[in-house]
């Protein structure tokens, strides 16, 4: 009998020092030193060093994201302006939560999926 899992997101403990607040939109190239929590909309590319990327349920990513930590995907990943899938790449693990809906190609060292997660794209793993 499987049970639902939960995760405690503590920004301080996870070194998430960057945040796109709900209702906010960032367009362009974002380079972060530390983790990034996305509750608003990110349109463009982001490079995150030294922390995870947490896409909250109300957050939207429209572009490519590179991360040295883990990926926690609860929200939406849409295709780019060019019509191509967004590219999400992480050196850590990718957690695909049940509320996720991604039109993206996801690459990570480990994948953990939850029932209900919708992925429209390619999933690939690589060694550390």
């Amino acid at each position: 009998m499987s049970t639902e899992e939960s995760i405690i997101i503590d920004p301080v403990a996870m070194n998430i020092v960057n945040r796109i607040a709900p209702g906010s939109t960032f367009r362009g190239v974002l380079e972060c030193n530390g983790g990034l929590m996305i509750q608003g909309t990110l349109e463009g590319d982001a490079k995150v060093f030294g922390g995870p990327v947490v896409l909250m349920q109300e957050g939207v990513i429209k572009g490519d994201v590179q991360c040295t930590g883990d990926l926690f995907l609860f929200g939406k990943v849409v295709v780019k302006e060019t019509g191509e899938f967004s590219e999400l790449s992480a050196n850590g693990a990718a957690f695909l939560a049940e509320t996720m809906d991604a039109h993206a190609n996801i690459t990570s060292t480990a994948i953990k999926t939850y029932e209900g997660a919708q992925i429209h794209g390619r999933i690939s793993t690589r060694r550390k």
């Binding site: 009998m1 499987s2 049970t3 639902e4 899992e5 939960s6 995760i7 405690i8 997101i9 503590d10 920004p11 301080v12 403990a13 998430i16 020092v17 945040r19 929590m37 926690f72 609860f74 957690f95 939560a97 049940e98 509320t99 953990k112 999926t113 939850y114 029932e115 209900g116 997660a117």
Partner: protein
Amino acid sequence: MNATKEARQSKRANPNNHMITRLVVGEAFVQSMGTPVGQRSLFNQDVSQTIRWKHGRWENSEGLVSKLRKAASQSSDVLNLPISAPKEEEAVEFNFLEYAENLLTDPKVKRRIYIASLTMASLFLGISGYFLYDQLKSADIDLPIPLGAGGPSNASSQSGLKVEEAPFFVRPLEAGDAGTNPTADRPVVPSANAVEPAGVLPIPSSGSAPAGVATQAAPASPIIPAPVANSSTVASVMANAANGPTGAKNAAKNETPAAPAAPAKTDGKAPPPTGMILDAEHSKGTSSESSSKEPAKEPPKVRSGGSGLVAITPDGKIALFTNPKTRLPERFKVGDKLPSGETLKSIDTSSGKVVTDSKEYVLE
């Protein structure tokens, strides 16, 4: 000690640094991820109601019969007949008729029936045609096919000589037969089916040959029986003719070359070899030296089975001849006209001869 001093100094410089982070990022919170995808554990399931073997029998198992009964009772397709339901036979017959009507009205079924009937009909026609053809073929084989089926035009060539066969055996008339044959003194006219002997005179021209040879070999010979010949006789005649008169005489003695009966009778000696090529047996009968009893003892061989004498009734009234046109035997009485145009004069049952106005036929 130095580290704690630095931390205190930084707090003094920016006392809300930690709090600012919390304000920007927010407090820790619990986020539900969902049910992880993976294989379910089988060990936690309740197996108390599953089937198991205990005390020599299966427990928690429902019998097949009981399952069927349950299914039948629960199914809505089962017709529950009342007590006063009609008999099963009537119900079955009614259903069959209805089913047959539905089948016949279905265009697909109609088409299939047509195709099947056509197939059966074609099969039947094919089989019957095969048997009919077989019967016709066997009937064709049973028909008598004479050796000289082509009649006079049929020719066989042996050793370079063209020898034509007579359609039936004709025994030349002899002197002793004059009493029985009232027309012996008359010239014999060959029938329409008979072979003209003029074309079969393979005697080479020789200066030492007697003159009578050439004269007697002329086609104007009064008696011109059917010139049936074999190759040995032909060869011997040719050799004798090449050797001259003595050879011709020897040939006359040994081989008894065919010669017309009437002219040979006039000479007391053996007749000179003629140009006629006949069978050895046949020529024996025609030779003047040979007695008249010999042909009766030894019936001549008949090569042609086409239109010869087939049978004679014991009373001597009817003779059966094969009609060369129809290849069927026909009955002839004395005085009847044969298909060859001859008139039947007499029937001799003892010797098996039938004498016509021009020829004499012997039983085949």
